[in-house]
């Protein structure tokens, strides 16, 4: 079994790092995993995305046309990836910035007010981790605690101060979807 996740948003929204949290956690769980970044034409501040594929068998393609799961951090990403999610897949979106309503009936939508939650934690930069926490809670592809540990284990020394906010964000993301209730099964 393999699961593919695309996390997309503005350059500054930490989508590559969000992907890394997933990838490290998968590695720590001894799963196969690939992480692949892509940038838009802007030097900085444009759109960016990370594709993470994980599973229990050797991974062929690290890029996917139709991901199982998408995290859309902003409006353009929502609009770009909504039609691409694999039928039966899930679209997590940052409800703080995305007002669009989902139009497909064959995928599940999960709205997470990530910026708002991050602001509560005190650092809007961890909105990405909020989304990842939500993803973990809803999909179960990786246990929340594995993600929390991973952040502790792999955060580079220069950014140790970000360990706690990220862990907190993961937990709050998980909580908020729990609060929202389990999404409908497709």
């Amino acid at each position: 079994m393999q699961t593919s996740v695309v996390i997309a948003g503005f350059g500054g929204q930490g989508v590559l790092f969000a992907g890394l949290i997933l990838a490290y956690a998968a590695m720590d769980k001894e799963l196969y995993v690939t992480w692949y970044p892509s940038y838009g034409p802007e030097m900085r501040g444009g759109t960016a995305s990370a594709t993470v594929v994980l599973g229990d068998e050797e991974i062929g393609s690290p890029v996917v046309r139709h991901p199982d799961i998408v995290i859309a951090m902003n409006g353009p990403s929502f609009r770009k990836y909504e039609p691409l999610v694999k039928p039966g897949g899930m679209l997590f979106y940052n409800a703080s910035l995305i007002a669009d309503a989902g139009t497909r009936t064959d995928i599940r939508y999960v709205a997470v007010p990530a910026n708002a939650i991050a602001a509560e934690i005190g650092d809007t930069r961890v909105a990405n981790a909020v989304m990842v926490g939500a993803l973990a809670a809803v999909t179960g592809i990786l246990p929340l605690e594995a993600l929390v540990e991973t952040v502790e284990r792999h955060m580079p020394p220069a950014r140790r101060a970000m360990v706690f906010p990220n862990q907190e964000a993961l937990r709050r993301g998980a909580q908020v979807v729990a609060g929202l209730g389990q999404p409908v099964a497709s």
Binding site: F10, G12, G45, N74, G75, P76, L97
Partner: protein, 93 residues
């Protein structure tokens, strides 16, 4: 003091805040909302009409997002000297 007014093209603005830093009267601030590219654009906050149309904000804007208007006595052929302020009285392409 001449009276002025600026127009900021919201979608052209990248929220760099250079204009805010140069306005002599501190009349520009960053918007609370995002534009389509995800930036918080600059906006003129000039309730008391203090903008002089000095164009310092426009001059430094790297994205040519600001237009400046100024009330002035229009003497024919008496545009401000080009060396001081660029006067290009046309619409953007």
């Amino acid at each position: 003091m001449p009276k002025g007014r600026i127009v900021i093209h919201v979608e052209a603005c990248k929220g760099c805040q250079l204009c805010t830093s140069v306005c002599p009267s501190g009349l520009i601030r960053m918007s609370a909302s995002f534009n389509r590219k995800g930036y918080r654009p600059a906006e003129l906050v000039d309730p008391t009409g203090r903008c002089t149309g000095c164009a310092l904000c426009a001059m430094i804007c790297p994205d040519a997002a600001i237009e400046v208007y100024r009330e002035a006595k229009v003497k024919p052929h008496a545009a401000p000297p080009v060396e001081e302020v660029v006067v290009i009285v046309t619409e953007p392409a």
